[in-house]
Amino acid sequence: MRALPLALRRWIDIWLYQLRGPQPGPIVLGHRRVYILPTSHGCIFFLVLVLMLAGSVNYSLALGFVLTFLLAGLGVNGMLYTFRNMANLRISTGRARSVFAGDAAEFPLRIENPTEVDRAALEAVSSTGHAYGFDVAAGTDTLAPIMLATRSRGRLAIGRVMLRTRFPLGLFRAWTYLEPDVDCIVFARPETPPAPLPAPTGERGEGSASALGNEDFAGLRAYHASDSPRRIAWKADAQNRGLLSKVFSGEAESELWLDWNALPPTMPIEARISRLTRWVLDADAAGMTYGLRLASQVIEPAAGAGHRTRCLETLALLPQ
């Protein structure tokens, strides 16, 4: 029995709202895409008109007829104006900045008004119900952020966006549904509290490291039990970034491997991803060179924002 409403819903989407899946490129709100119906206020207004008409007939009020019919004409005009307030807008969508699961994703919706009619009091509503009001003057454009709440990692499509307006009379509401073809990548939520970074591998002897230089500060790396307490970055510790040691130039490059398989075997997949995400962030914040070793692929050690994004995206897009 649940199949029927679903099928009906799909039929409405396709034939009425012309939604055949995400639509690439700018979307022009042609006349067929704008729907209009009276609001509840519009229905009350209609009832008031009927009452006024009955009163005019009963008392033979010529000016009562004039008033009633003038307001009826106003209502019809209001419908056309509300329709006009939405039709022929051009909508394009930009890619949203990546966010961590649990934060709100924000898609910039660009609404262009190429016509010579000012538009006022429109609202863009995201599929999670977050509404944003805006105006677009003739020949200008504006950005409306579509906010989506995120819960889990992965690709998040913008989904169905509703544009609606009641301007100018509030007696009718015009609306349309869009489904632009944009998405954003939601990173996994980093583990809290943070686990300390694993020890770098392939490090040379302790002696040569201390011998080679205490001169120029080069960055931070995870604290090892053998590190001198003088080299602990207490400031980083105070910032809740875990216990880190300062590394100075001349010191041997150590390779930090964030290894999927090195994690406890009983650890669930999402917890592993969450911890690895935290480690990528910490390692990047420490300016360290790190590599990511997963069950299916390996990202060679590197550093920098691009590397960080690559690692985070890889983690975010791992199969569930």
């Binding site: 207004f45 007939v57 033979s60 010529a62 004039v66 008033l67 019919f69 003038l70 104006y81």
Partner: protein, 651 residues
């Protein structure tokens, strides 16, 4: 949607309310006006200070108290006056309860409804104009509510409101003309629905007509098809009063008659005219003494009153023909009629009866008796005034022997009593006497102030004869109207007093305008609609056909408006700078420098400057300015205006 009830919206709502309740103020008890004003002021104060709205229980208490007050003031909670009072109280108190968008919209709709209630009392042009302003502001307020928070622009809003109302007018006109009209009422009207309509009543006691004579209101308007009768023939027949109870006259029984008859006298000159009667909530239809035919949906009584089948509650128009010289009832008087026409109450006005008997004995015959009485009024010190002294228990005695000053009702009454006491059948006829011809529009206005009473006596061989004793006392009343007849110290409506010519002219112009308004706007009723439809050959169409035609025209007009309104969607906003530059190119093209489509502005300027060397400096300045505005970083209006000026000055 979140409510956007900022203080400016509330202020505009308050203004709408004030506009539409303003005409009600004079009709409402003072305390209701004060309560309404207080509620509005309180809400504005709260909006300004940002305070909390009053608690619900407080408002409910106020509503209950106000309802009780209205019940005490009006004796009911229903009916027209009490209903309006209740509506005004509810509307203004709703302002204090208004928290959401829905509340605000309900306030808007109620305001529209208050506009309608104003028309229950007055549908004149000034009322219509004030209410149009009201509708404009209410609609503006409604639009103002829809703006985004902080984006409210009231100039823009009021402009939009005016445009939308103007664009609603064609549809309004079509619906007004073609929407099937049904003659009301659909349900019972409250008893006070027509209170305050002035007009003659079915009884006459001293003071009835003199009160009426202070009213400027129009009783009816008359359009003569041919010649207009002389002023002393302008007797508009109304209620005929037979029964005298010692102090006042009443109609007594009336007998409807299918075809009472009379014989026109003389050349048989009949006057044809159309009467447009103002509603007066009584059944009389007025016609020039005596009507020759019946108005539609009406009946004659045996004493030639014309009674409509229903009280006249809307403006009524009828064609009429009258003979001003006639012989009525000369065949004889039935014993019953004679008894009614001689009825006098015992125990009243003995001195008058004694006087009548003396005079009758001295007179040769009945006709001589009439002349004697009129001569008495003329020669003895009787005065015509609108403010006569009060009369005692025997009003006719008091009037004839003591006060000797009065208005037409006193003279008609005294005359009829004298006649009856002398054994001459007599009755009192009330109606209107006179009328003012409006040269603009060429029709006659008869006002309530022209209400009049006269007498009819029955003389053997002549039948009922009209005698106007007031004319004996004050011939000017009949010849020149009431303003000429009363002493200058008496109160009179301004309209009758004005001496200056331009004021009269202004008044005539205004009334002519009001007459057209009455005929074509207010008087547009089922009959007029039928007339209009028959003019376009639709008189035999069924109601379904008419409904289809109405629907078709409505749809057609809506489509036209859809095209007008939506057309602008397909016109792209054009950069003013581009438009100005195009004008510059057209100017140069006329001088022989045609810009090639592929040519850049700088190259074109070089070429054009060589071609039109005398304007080279201007061409360079314009091109520089254009490039800066079009391709530079931003532009300001002053620069655009400068560019426009440069192009305009280019020769």
């Amino acid at each position: 949607m979140t409510p956007r009830l900022d203080t400016r919206n509330v202020a505009w709502m308050a203004l709408s309310m004030a506009l539409v309740t303003l005409p009600h103020v004079e009709r409402l008890p003072v305390w209701i006006t004060a309560l309404a004003a207080l509620a509005i002021a309180w809400r504005l104060y709260l909006g300004w200070k940002g305070g909390q709205l009053p608690r619900k229980w407080l408002l409910l208490t106020v509503v209950a108290g106000a309802s009780a007050g209205i019940y005490v003031s009006f004796g009911t909670l229903f009916g027209r006056d009490a209903g309006v009072a209740l509506l005004v109280v509810m509307l203004t108190l709703k302002l204090l309860e208004m928290a959401s968008m829905r509340d605000a919209m309900i306030v808007i709709f109620l305001s529209y409804f208050v506009v309608l209630t104003n028309f229950l009392y007055s549908q004149t042009i000034p009322t219509a104009a004030l209410m149009l302003v009201g509708v404009w502001v209410i609609t503006g307020t409604m639009i103002g509510l829809q703006w985004r928070e902080g984006a409210l622009r009231y100039q823009e809003t009021l402009r939009l409101s005016a445009i939308m109302l103007a664009q609603a007018t064609p549809l309004m006109l079509v619906l007004f003309l073609l929407f099937p009209r049904v003659q009301g009422p659909l349900w019972g009207l409250p008893r006070d629905a027509f209170a305050g309509v002035s007009g003659l009543s079915d009884s006459m006691s001293p003071g009835t007509l003199s009160q009426l004579s202070l009213s400027d209101a129009v009783a009816f308007r008359v359009q003569f098809q041919g010649e207009i009768p002389k002023p002393n023939q302008l007797y508009w027949r109304g209620p005929v009063l037979w029964y005298f109870d010692g102090t006042s006259w009443h109609m007594g029984m009336t007998f409807e008659s299918a075809t009472p008859s009379y014989a026109p006298v003389g050349t048989g000159a009949a006057y044809s005219y159309t009467v447009t009667l103002e509603p007066h909530d009584k059944r009389w239809l007025f016609a020039l003494d005596l009507p020759a035919k019946l108005a539609p949906e009406s009946r004659f009584t045996t004493d030639f009153q014309m009674l409509a089948n229903r009280p006249v509650r809307s403006r009524t128009r009828y064609e009429m023909t009258s003979h001003t010289s006639y012989r009525l009832g000369y065949e004889g008087l039935s014993p019953y009629e004679r008894r009614r026409a001689l009825q006098l109450p015992d125990g009243y006005n003995w001195r008058t009866r004694a006087l009548a008997l003396n005079m009758r004995n001295a007179a040769r015959d009945d006709e001589d008796m009439v002349k004697q009485v009129l001569a008495m009024f003329r020669t003895q010190p009787f005065f015509y005034t609108l403010t006569p002294p009060l009369l005692g228990d025997n009003p006719v005695d008091d009037f004839l022997f003591n006060t000797r000053s009065g208005f037409c009702e006193h003279y008609a009454s005294a005359f009829a009593v004298l006649m009856r006491a002398a054994g001459i059948p007599a009755r009192v006829v009330t109606g209107y006497q006179g009328g003012e011809v409006n040269p603009i529009g060429n029709y006659m206005i008869v006002r309530q102030s022209e209400a009049h009473a006269w007498a009819e006596v029955w003389i053997a061989g002549r039948g009922w004869v009209r005698v106007d004793p007031t004319a004996a006392v004050s011939p000017l009343r009949v010849e020149s109207g009431i303003a000429a007849a009363v002493p200058a110290t008496d109160a009179l409506p301004l309209a009758l007093r004005s001496n200056s010519e331009w004021l009269r002219q202004l008044r005539f112009t205004w009334d002519s305008f009001a007459n057209s308004w009455n005929q074509w706007v207010l008087g547009y009723n089922p009959e007029r609609q039928y007339w209009l439809l028959s003019r376009v050959g639709l008189d035999r169409a069924t109601s379904q056909t008419l409904a289809l035609i109405l629907l078709g025209i409505t749809a057609f007009i809506t489509c036209i408006f859809a095209v007008v309104i939506l057309r602008r969607l397909h016109r792209h906003a054009r950069d003013p700078v581009v438009a100005i530059y195009a004008r510059f190119c057209r100017k140069l093209a006329r001088r022989g420098a045609q810009r090639a489509p592929s040519e850049g502005p700088a190259d074109f300027a070089d070429r054009a400057a060589r071609r039109v060397p005398e304007a080279a400096a201007a061409i360079r300045a314009i091109t520089e300015s254009y490039i800066a505005l079009r391709y530079g970083a931003g532009s300001d209006r002053a620069q655009v205006r400068r560019l426009k000026r440069l192009v305009r000055e280019l020769q």
